[in-house]
């Protein structure tokens, strides 16, 4: 936190300095000022899958590991606290890093991280869910606005990830996996770390294409039978969260 604040402070100083330069020289255009922050960009582009196929909400019957048929109608999750680690050990942390990804809204599936220092990156890590601090510090906004349907108002906290659908294996016909909880046994936050060489030259941008496989919720380490878990309770939260911890992979970088 302290380091981060200092960085912000330094950035502000640099910015002021540039404004002074600009008013003296009057040659640079405003966008050059932004660009000359020593930084490149990383785009994150997410594609949700069901096994080997690109996920389509409703309409399509998928089979989970146990062989249960299901259709998926809602697939939402938070990605937060994105960190990029360079080969020299430097770690870039995205400020205010909260992204709500909703399968039914294409614009939520890609976003850009600006002001990333250039270099050779090795690892991207992030949380599935919202860190505990942002579950206990009052009203939030932006992607953390409680209006998203990803917030429990009677037992404060975010729904970290949500999968809804239907299945003939469920006694009520429905599949309702709402995973929430930020502490103790019902903690649905999982940290993901993915390795891939990403060479990021100065002032350029690279796109990390992430795959998220919804069917991973039903397998490894625990094969889920929908007849046993059609609605997630606090008791089954850990099992499903452990399963979705490995739903992400890097498809490619370009």
């Amino acid at each position: 936190m302290v380091i981060f604040r200092n960085l912000v402070g330094m950035k502000k100083l640099g910015f002021l300095f540039l404004i002074v330069l600009q008013s003296v020289a009057c040659t640079k255009k405003p966008d050059t000022i932004v660009d000359s922050n020593p930084a490149a960009k990383i785009n994150i582009a997410i594609e949700n899958y069901a096994g080997s196929q690109i996920l389509k909400l409703n309409d399509i019957w998928y089979k989970n590991e146990n062989g249960d048929s299901l259709q998926i109608s809602v697939f939402n999750y938070f990605i937060s606290n994105i960190k990029l680690t360079r080969d020299d050990g430097f770690v870039y942390t995205e400020p205010e890093s909260y992204h709500l990804v909703r399968e039914n809204n294409a614009s939520t599936k890609s976003f850009t991280i600006v002001n990333v220092p250039p270099g050779n990156y090795k690892t991207i890590s992030f949380m599935i869910g919202v860190d505990s601090a942002h579950n206990v510090s009052g009203a939030q906004t932006g992607d953390l606005d409680p209006n998203s349907g990803m917030f429990w108002d009677w037992n404060t906290g975010y729904i970290m990830a949500k999968l809804e659908g239907k299945s003939p294996s469920s006694s009520g016909g429905i599949v309702l996996y709402h995973l929430g909880g930020y502490s103790g046994t019902a903690n649905a936050i999982r940290t993901v770390s993915l390795s891939k060489d990403i060479t990021l030259p100065d002032k350029q941008s690279k796109t990390i294409h992430l795959k998220a496989d919804a069917l991973e919720w039903f397998k490894t380490p625990t094969t889920i039978k929908i007849k046993d878990i059609d609605v997630v309770s606090a008791n089954s939260t850990k099992i499903i969260a452990d399963n979705y911890a490995d739903m992400f992979s890097i498809d490619h970088i370009d």
Binding site: S137, G138, A139, P146, F151, N155, G157
Partner: protein, 321 residues
């Protein structure tokens, strides 16, 4: 960030009180923010059919509880399961609701707004309704620097109003501050001792609660409200409820999470003869409380010194018509 146009209000911690849990570090108090919170608190448009406001269930003359209603009475005459608690000294609370399910004062308003038996509205619709109203837009601008209405600003304005509702001018407070004319009578003094011996572990001075969750031996009713265990799912928390304050009891009846008692006499009879033994009953109460008739009268005299007339009549908290 946000520019505050209005003069800030001050949040004063009463002399001798602990520092509050919520102190506006990330929510700069202003007169405009407070007034916005107050307007929303009394505005029935925050409910689905525009009939119920926060003030319907939290009435100032009853210490912001709902007088004469054992359980809350909301939209379409639907009844809740629990008694509307009084609202005062909220900035000292460590959690909200009888079961403590809400962990922050700013996260409180969304719960009644979206509860189907209370206001049955969505926060998204409330944002739209307020954004469509020119008076609100200018109040949001005055409070937060521009006309944007969002759920966070709504929450912060509510916290400015609700948190400012402090009750610290009962006779007890004046006595503690050594103010003229506030000396305790002998009976009040005796009652203070009875309180210290029997009630203070849970209903701790100066807020008259330690905000802990305890089972005080009330026999469960047909509703079978599991209390704190509803949130933690731990059997050790069965039938535990957040200890309420003993301030302002004169105005806040009926009492307990389900409003089962209408008088202090009934409450005291519960503690002396009505306690139900159960695995989660608080140790302190396992043998019941023994009080003579005289001690009961003395205790009642002391509890009377905790009623704060200035607070229930404070025009600052009233609806502006």
């Amino acid at each position: 960030m946000d520019v505050k146009a209005e003069l800030p209000l001050a949040f004063n911690v009463p002399q001798g009180w602990p520092s509050p849990n919520y102190n506006y570090t990330n929510n700069q108090l202003s007169k405009a923010g407070f007034e916005l919170g107050r307007k929303m608190f009394y505005d029935a448009r925050l409910s689905k059919d525009n009939t119920i406001s926060c003030g319907s269930c939290h009435q100032q003359f009853s210490g912001f509880a709902q007088i004469d209603h054992p359980v809350s009475h909301g939209i379409n005459d639907l009844l809740g399961n629990r008694n509307s608690p009084p609202l005062f000294n909220l900035n000292w609370h460590t959690s909200f609701m009888w079961d403590g399910g809400i962990n922050h004062i700013e996260n409180q308003p969304i719960a009644p707004i979206q509860n189907p038996v209370e206001m049955d509205e969505t926060m998204a619709n409330v944002v739209t309704k307020l954004q469509g109203d020119a008076t609100y837009r200018s109040m949001f601008k005055a409070a937060f620097g521009d006309e944007t209405v969002n759920s966070q600003r709504i929450a912060k304005a509510f916290a400015q109003f609700m948190g400012m509702i402090v009750s610290s001018n009962a006779k007890y407070d004046k006595y503690k501050r050594g103010e003229a004319g506030s000396a305790f009578t002998q009976q009040e003094m005796n009652g203070y001792d009875v309180y210290k011996q029997n009630c203070a572990t849970c209903h701790t001075e100066p807020l008259f609660t330690d905000f802990s969750f305890r089972n005080n031996g009330l026999p469960p009713t047909g509703v079978n409200d599991s209390g704190r265990a509803h949130i933690t799912l731990a059997s050790a928390d069965l039938y535990k409820f957040k200890t309420p304050s003993l301030r302002n009891l004169k105005y806040t009846w009926p009492y307990m999470h389900d409003g089962r008692f209408n008088s202090i006499d009934q409450v005291l009879n519960h503690y002396t003869t009505g306690i139900m033994q159960s695995p989660t009953l608080d140790n302190k109460l396992s043998g019941g409380i023994t009080l003579t008739d005289k001690q009961k009268e003395d205790l009642k005299a002391f509890l009377n010194t905790l009623n704060d007339e200035e607070f229930v009549k404070n025009t600052m908290f009233q609806e502006v018509k």
